[in-house]
Amino acid sequence: MKNFAHYNARSVAEATHLLAAYEGKAKLNAGGSDLIGVLKDRILPDYPEAVINIKTIPGLNTIEENDGGINIGALTKLVDIINSPLIKKNCPVLKETARTVASPQIRNVATLGGNLCQDTRCWYYRYPDGIGGMIKCFRKGGKTCHAVPGENQYHAIMGAKKCFAVCPSDTAVALTALGAVLTVAGTKGTRTLPVEEFYTPLGNMLALDEMITSVNIPKPDPAAEQAFLKFTLRKPIDFAIVSVASVITLDQGICADARIILGAVAPTPVRAHKAEEYLKGKKLSDDTAAEAAMLATVGANPLSKNIYKLEIVKTLVKRVINSGSCLS
């Protein structure tokens, strides 16, 4: 791996000031399970001059209950989310989602903040510099997208402009279903941002000097049914081809509220608004589930090789509505 200056940040202020000082030429390292691969393959147009270890910042790896809900530090490891009684009790969908990420060894180091901020997995974007040269495209400031005329079977089927890579983060899908809000710190202070608004067509909303410090999940209605389903080719160590997370509140069999989020279909997690609206006030049945599933795909615009994803979306949406609990 090409060398870089290395810092152990001792506070959020240190980390954000270093980010600012390097003007975009530094990268934060949390678990490193995404970043180290990115660096080894030299896929970025500008190889970072510095790597800032943020695991040395104290206090960012706790899971706590507060008035507003459940607060998870950005450096909390996925394994600790999976084993947390607080998460299991309040947001089982996040636990189930975290369980499907990568492998046990990766979940032992991977953090929630890193999971949300991981780089795209588009195989053109990820093409290693060492075998034939890095591939430029819209996402790297280039002038084209190679996936549109090329191999796009795992790319977006909706909501994409210019770049058709899908958001690879599984936890983003569950956190959007839960209505989670990020706390973001920069050199000029902190702000909050819903996970639902975090992703942009070519990346995310973080400014050069910003990092996520925590994720706040408003306490879900205890009666709400939470579910996450992820379709992959292999069970362990695989990214979603399509995933669906749902939080559905029933009142005597009638749907009082529904949040249905599609993952790996677009550059951002996608709220199936039409399906959500349709379900409200309806009795859940095979028929209403099928109609909601159909509505979830309205507006999709698949590429040449990924129309098959629509059927997976429909099937998973039907299943989360019918399963009513956390299965994966």
């Binding site: 000082a21 790597v51 270890n53 160590i237």
Partner: protein
């Protein structure tokens, strides 16, 4: 470029591997550790601990698994400079330091011929070791789950399951 007063990592690093302390200067020299070195690289190329294998070198196969503070982790995606305060155990650290006898888990892999080429084996044994330390009598499904991050191209998987379960029965987790 040193754009701020914030100082880079200390110029020296002490690693605790298999209970022994090793000190390094940070740098590009022959015996130094560079900030961009992975733990897998340092173990193999600086400490001569070649039992830890590198295969995919990007977190996807499990061959480079070692224990860090008792947990199975992938040494190919860890920066050595960030491992200073940790207790690292590699496959070489499993044998009894006094008698040189193999760990019962290692012996069980031999007894069950739980490998063919053997390239994946150190990683699999380290993942299994982490499981048995935490859960000394796992079910077959729990073993499968714990080893789900380790690939074996030779398909020794069934023998591996038998070996781990047998070692657990004999108390190999302790």
């Amino acid at each position: 470029m040193t754009p701020t007063q914030i100082k880079p990592s200390l110029p020296t690093l002490t690693l605790n591997v298999n209970g022994k302390l090793h000190s390094f200067m940070l740098g590009e020299g022959l015996h130094e550790v560079s900030p961009s070195h992975t733990l897998a690289y340092t173990l193999r190329e600086r400490l001569g601990l070649t039992g830890t294998k590198i295969s995919c070198d990007e977190g996807a196969c499990g061959c480079c698994t070692v224990l860090m503070d008792g947990k199975a982790v992938l040494s190919c995606i860890l920066l050595t400079v960030e491992c200073g305060e940790k207790e690292i155990v590699t496959i070489e650290g499993l044998e009894d330091p006094e008698t040189g006898e193999l760990d019962p888990l290692q012996q069980s892999f031999i007894d069950h011929t739980a490998f063919q080429c053997g390239f994946c084996t150190p990683g699999i044994i380290m993942s299994a070791k982490a499981l048995l330390v935490e859960n000394p009598s796992p079910t077959r499904d729990e073993v499968k789950e714990a080893l789900s991050g380790n690939f074996c191209r030779c398909i020794s998987n069934y023998h591996v399951l038998d070996a781990v379960i047998a070692a657990a029965r004999k108390g190999g987790g302790e």
